[in-house]
């Protein structure tokens, strides 16, 4: 049985958000509540400041804390492929899984929309789902968290289960450049313009994802939590890097940003 994993090469990632957009389209996500997002932040202080970014889907952990805390087994680890999925029919909306996920990649569907006005108001649903967008994918499997989310549940990235699970048995890598496999490639991987994302079977030693992890010393985010992500990051330090701390992935607080801007303008006027 495959154990699907993703490798994200941070040296190649340009922070273009194509993955975020593709995932949003594929899974009918709301603006601002992306299962996959690229977080932008800065590191250092003026004059040694770097703008950084960090793409972050669900890690489909081998030892997922979201699964172990769920009191209804609504979120579960699928042994066939290692997907961490949601059963919307069992979820009671207690949000313990959100509290217990160290990566912040789970979304309760009934919160106030991050981006206002709430687009759902323009496309109300008449079958108990949170909205009825004009475009939506044909896939609908509430027992695996696929399709438009109903009210009162938590949702998350499915590792594009609806695509990946249909891949031919025994295939080591799902590569969008192989024509016969591209339909099975997760949306975020398939659209990545600089090809920074790779998807394959972590249980096959010869898979490309395994070779990348071995050759380029792939690391997992917040490995100290014991969750053992199935998403690995490659970072040679040339560009974006894996933030080791939560606060390192921080955009400036508003007052800090104002100070920095003042400092820059002071320096500029002095040198003028």
């Amino acid at each position: 049985m495959a154990k699907w994993g993703m490798v994200i090469d941070l040296d190649k990632c340009t922070g273009c958000q194509a993955c975020t957009t593709a995932c949003t389209m594929e899974n009918n996500r709301l603006p601002g509540e992306h299962w996959q997002d690229v977080l932008f932040y800065h590191e250092g202080t003026y004059p040694n400041v770097k703008l950084m970014w960090f793409p972050r889907p669900c890690m489909h952990c081998e030892n997922p804390s979201c699964v172990s805390v769920c009191p209804t087994k609504a979120t579960y680890k699928d042994p066939n492929g290692g997907f961490v999925l949601m059963d919307y029919n069992r979820c009671i909306g207690c949000k313990y899984c959100q509290v217990a996920c160290p990566y912040g990649v789970r979304f309760y569907v009934d919160e106030k929309a991050v981006v206002q006005p709430d687009i759902r108001g323009a496309f109300p649903s008449d079958d108990g789902r949170q909205w009825d967008p004009p475009y939506k994918g044909p896939q609908d499997d509430p027992s695996r968290g696929i399709g438009i989310q109903p009210h009162g549940v938590v949702s998350k990235c499915t590792f594009c289960y609806h695509k990946v699970s249909k891949a031919p048995e025994g295939v080591a890598d799902l590569d969008e450049d192989i024509p016969e496999l591209k339909e099975y490639v997760p949306a975020c991987v398939r659209v990545c313009p600089p090809k920074a994302r790779f998807f394959g079977d972590l249980d096959q030693p010869e898979s490309r994802v395994n070779r990348l992890i071995a050759d380029q010393r792939g690391v997992r985010l917040k490995d100290e939590t014991g969750n053992k992500p199935q998403v690995y990051y490659l970072s040679g330090g040339a560009s974006a890097s894996v933030p080791s701390l939560r606060s390192m992935a921080a955009a400036p607080a508003p007052e800090d940003a104002a100070d920095t801007i003042n400092e820059i303008s002071d320096t500029a006027s002095r040198s003028a």
Binding site: V67, C70, T72, R90, H151, T225, P254
Partner: protein, 396 residues
């Protein structure tokens, strides 16, 4: 012995029947609670119908559990604290607690009902929870065990109450039932602590001693509630209180309440100290909390002041002091629960474009209304018990 009616009669005019006066006052309390429940509950339901869950001001940025969960846990732990006090008194054969046993167990059920109703209004699928949790057998989840423990805890309280409401009981005869209730109350409280304490990547929450801290916090809440609601049962008129109840209130109870405050204070100060000096990711919340007046209100007004008042021989037996002290402690515990549950979520898991700093959380009006719903509902149930069940009796 029958203490359903006050033993010490007030020097009332001949036309006044003190028992009737007291009954009228209790009826008034019941009516006020019901009207309050109707108003607060009606407005809450209206808000939920128009805004849905968004009425709680929680977010997907990291503040997942807001004021409703604070209220739920506050009432739940108060309930287990009351149950612990009552069952400990029975198990240890503390005869002087007789006059408050019925009231304490009934109050534990009333408080629990208030908390559970709030939880049901907060959950995405409350009805589904009724079958999905028990039949999931999700043994790895602390919440699963919490729900199961609460279910058995309610049953144990009902059995204990049933025995207490019967005639001719002795502490000895109640001991087996009290032991079961005590074990379950301890379990519920400890598991509630594990729900938070096990989240190792949230250092503000994570600690092995949280379940123990919760147990002492519950005991403190239980003692404070016994004081306050016993006075309320006699319309805050100490002259109407039975002599044996007054005796308890002037001898053992102030000492126990002071001791419980002191132990709770030790936990609070220990956590505050290590939190302020610690530099682990997430502990910066302590600096934030230390800059807010709420923490000092809790520490100095809610805990230290009642501790001093209850320790001074000149003040500890004054009814007004006891009422104020218990009220202050009840509020301090609500602040503590709020700061703990909200504080553990203020540092976002990954800051970034959407959450640049500590998460800004302000409880919504619907959240505060839920607090009123819980207060009025528990008070209505409690007042009904005072009116109809003879909760002040030692036995029927």
């Amino acid at each position: 012995m029958n203490n359903a009616h006050p033993q010490t009669s007030p020097p009332a005019p001949a036309t006044h029947d003190p028992a009737q006066d007291l009954a009228n006052k209790r009826l008034a309390i019941l009516i006020i609670a019901l009207v309050g429940l109707l108003l607060a509950g009606g407005q809450t339901l209206a808000n939920l119908a128009t805004q849905g869950h968004a009425a709680f001001n929680t977010t997907n940025l990291g503040l997942f559990w807001g004021l409703p969960i604070v209220i739920y846990d506050y009432f739940l732990l108060t309930s287990t604290g009351l149950a612990m006090v009552a069952s400990l008194a029975i198990v240890t054969g503390a005869e002087e607690f007789r006059p408050v046993l019925r009231r304490t167990v009934w109050l534990a059920l009333a408080g629990l009902l208030g908390g559970v109703v709030v939880l049901m209004l907060e959950l995405g699928h409350p009805l589904r929870a009724l079958w999905a949790v028990p039949f999931s057998f999700a043994f790895s989840s602390p919440l699963y065990w919490k729900v199961m423990a609460v279910s058995f805890y309610v049953l144990s309280l009902l059995v204990l109450l049933y025995r207490l409401l019967r005639t001719h009981w002795t502490l000895q005869s109640l001991r087996p039932y009290a032991l079961v209730a005590l074990a379950l109350a301890l379990s519920v409280t400890a598991i509630a602590g594990v729900v938070y304490g096990s989240q190792s990547f949230r250092p503000f929450w994570a600690s092995g001693d949280i379940p123990v801290a919760f147990i002492f916090e519950s005991l403190l809440g239980g003692l404070a509630f016994i004081y306050f609601f016993s006075y309320l049962a006699y319309a805050f008129n100490p002259k109407w209180m039975p002599a044996d109840l007054r005796h308890l209130f002037d001898t053992r109870l102030p000492t126990l309440l002071a001791l419980a405050i002191f132990i709770h204070l030790l936990f609070v100060v220990a956590r505050l100290g290590s939190g302020l000096y610690g530099n682990a990711e997430g502990l910066q919340v302590w600096q934030y909390l230390a800059s807010s007046p709420l923490l000092y209100l809790e520490l100095f007004v809610g805990l230290l002041l009642p501790l001093i008042l209850l320790m001074l021989p000149q003040t500890r037996t004054y009814p007004a002091v006891q009422i104020v002290a218990s009220l202050l402690v009840m509020n301090a515990l609500l602040i503590a629960r709020y700061e703990y549950i909200i504080g553990g979520q203020l540092v976002p898991l990954f800051k970034g474009a959407w959450a640049p700093d500590l998460i800004n959380y302000v409880p919504s009006m619907t959240g505060w209304l839920l607090l009123l719903v819980a207060i009025f509902l528990s008070n209505a149930v409690n007042a009904f018990g005072e009116l109809k069940l003879g909760l002040g009796s030692n036995e029927q």
